[in-house]
Amino acid sequence: MAYEGVFDALGLRAWCDAAGDNAPLSMADLLASTGAENGGGGVPFPSLDVLHEACPQIAQTRDVTAALEDGFLAMRPELKLVLDPVTQPLSWMLDSALWFFTSVPWWVLLPALIYLAWAVSRSRGVTLFVALSFLGLGVIDHLEVALETLSIIFVCTSISVVLGVPIGIAMSRSKAVQRGILPVLDLLQTLPTFVYLIPLIFLFSVTESKLYGIAIILYAIVPVIRLTDLGIRLVDRDVIEAADAFGMSQRQKLWKVQLPLALPNIMAGVNQTIMMSLAMVVIASLVSAPGLGVLVLRGIRNLELGVGLVAGIGIVLLAVILDRTSKAALARVDRAGKAE
């Protein structure tokens, strides 16, 4: 074959043959033995599989993926030992939120949610829209699943904000921290959402709620971190200088100047975080997250067009509710900052 001569010329023949080819038959071997030619003609690309054929000492590509898997599985007990207790509260929170949203009677829960929309947005239009949406979902028997989705979003968004804002503050304080965290955020934003799920499934059991909770938080926490960092960095330098000139401590500066002035940006981040957790909660139904996503999945799996579409429209409604409400709150904060 093509590369055998190379190993001979390098004087590595003896080393190569010392291994002896006792690996099981690979797909490439199978194809070769059936006489299939894998294109290109002449010299094939020196991939691991091709080189392995010339010299059995060289690993095959499947050994690489296998090694990765083995390594991960070897680390798993230790990782679980640390991650399990740390993330356990997340399971409890998700489960109790789900229990709360599904067991409180609708005639208590719905008015409470509509009042919450009013309290946050102070806008009649938005509140009316929220009320009508819930009514619509209720009429077509989708209220309970929609509330399940909503409960997951509430929990995951709250945790994202609680973790994300301090991380954003830390980034705004130090260039080094920012340089360290930015690539992680880029990674979280560019990784296809399904890829998050793969290591998580290995780490946790699919029956645990924290599995999808972690996936959603990892995906949704990015905007609130970024916009907190940006918001604090954008605070007028003159105002910061004045705060220093009047002898404010770091803490006073943070609470009295930086956070209030960064609030519009932070709120914009929270809005984005809510929308991204809604996007992820649908995908997370692949790993047993309850809610509207399950129905969408059923629509795809069983080719039940109607079920999938209705659930999809339900998700759009939820998205619009959450977006309008949080945008109205943002606008209110903005107005307060500019004082009319």
Binding site: D236, E241, A242, A245, F246, M248, A339
Partner: protein
């Protein structure tokens, strides 16, 4: 002479990553341009020594880039000096630790900014009370104090407004009230009136002088406007390229500019309005005069009084004591800046 409130001794500031090492080059006589070319460091201030007397307005004047804003930020160490001493009542500010420094900024020095730098999310009253809030004074006390000073600067009735609802002049009044509320006896004013319209600026200058008669604060005032500097200054410091070119009483600088740079500067000034009788008067001679004048009258006032007649002379009298006399011809001669020749 009494002890200066603030004394700067051989103050240097070099901007760049390795400023301390650059001091050796500067001490060896390297200039600003060579330092920038050979070592990529910027010489911000060089060998500044200024005494600022208690109860006086010290005006630091210079064009943009002369280092005046850098200089004022050294007084409360918003910028750290590279070398030199900053003595406040004889105590070296550069030696203070972080806590002592914050104490100093809270209690002993307040600051007024060119762009006002008010907190946009707080009302005028809350803004004015900032300094006391930082010190941990309880709310009723600090708001009463802020209220008092807002009233004093003419903002009675605006307590509940937000800064964005006020005009520039009013915002700067809030800035001044905020500085006064801290009860610090030193007030740093960084181009405090430069962003205001000319008429409002004159108003604010008058307000400051009026407050100063009453409060006797030690004020350090930065400006690029010579008219403003001459109007406010008890002691005038002129900066150029980070170095003091001349300092002293404004009248003295006007009559005897130390170098061509300052001569250029003072050429366009309305000298009749700035110069005072005491700066031009001469010892009493045996001559009968047309009347008595006060040493602090401006020459402009005296010209108006004489009706333009140049043959007269006036006795300069203060508290019944004859200090000297002023000949109208000397007066007219003093109006011509040095370096202007008679022929065209």
């Amino acid at each position: 002479m009494s002890m200066p409130k603030i004394a700067l001794r051989g103050l240097y500031k070099i901007f760049g990553p390795d400023d301390a090492a650059m001091m050796a080059h500067i001490r060896a006589g390297m200039g600003k341009t060579e330092l920038l070319e050979q070592h990529k460091h910027v010489l911000g201030l060089q060998d500044i020594s200024v005494d600022m007397q208690p109860g006086e307005i010290t005006v630091v004047m210079g064009l943009s880039g002369s280092g005046k804003s850098t200089l004022i930020r050294h007084l409360n160490r918003l910028i750290e000096p590279t070398a030199g001493e900053i003595l406040l009542d004889g105590e070296d500010v550069t030696a203070l630790g972080p806590d002592a420094l914050r104490q100093l900024r809270q209690k002993r020095m307040s600051m007024v900014f060119q762009k006002f730098a008010l907190l946009p999310h707080r009302t005028v009253l809350q803004n004015a009370a900032t300094a006391l809030e930082v010190q941990g004074v309880d709310r009723p006390t600090r708001e009463a104090e802020a209220q008092k000073w807002l009233k004093r600067v003419g903002l009675d009735g605006y307590e509940g407004r937000y800064p964005a609802q006020l005009s520039g002049g009013m915002q700067q009044r809030v800035g001044i009230a905020r500085a006064l509320t801290s009860n610090a006896d030193i007030m740093l004013m960084d181009e405090a009136f430069s962003a205001l319209d000319p008429l409002i600026r004159t108003d604010m200058q008058n307000l400051l002088l009026e407050l100063q008669v009453e409060l006797q604060k030690t004020i350090v005032f930065i400006t690029h406007d010579l008219d403003e500097a001459l109007k406010l200054a008890d002691h005038l410091v002129i900066l150029k390229d980070g170095a003091v070119v001349q300092q002293g009483e404004p009248q003295g600088i006007l009559l005897a500019p130390a170098d061509p740079y300052i001569e250029d500067f003072v050429r366009d000034i309305n000298r009749a309005r700035v110069l005072r009788v005491r700066s031009v008067m001469e010892p009493v001679q045996d001559r009968s005069c047309a009347g008595d004048v006060d040493p602090d009258d401006t020459l402009e006032a005296l010209i108006a009084r004489s009706g333009g007649e140049t043959s007269l002379c006036y006795r300069v009298v203060k508290n019944g004591e004859i200090l000297g006399q002023i000949d109208m011809r000397d007066l007219v001669r003093a109006l011509v800046p040095r370096g202007v020749t008679g022929t065209h």
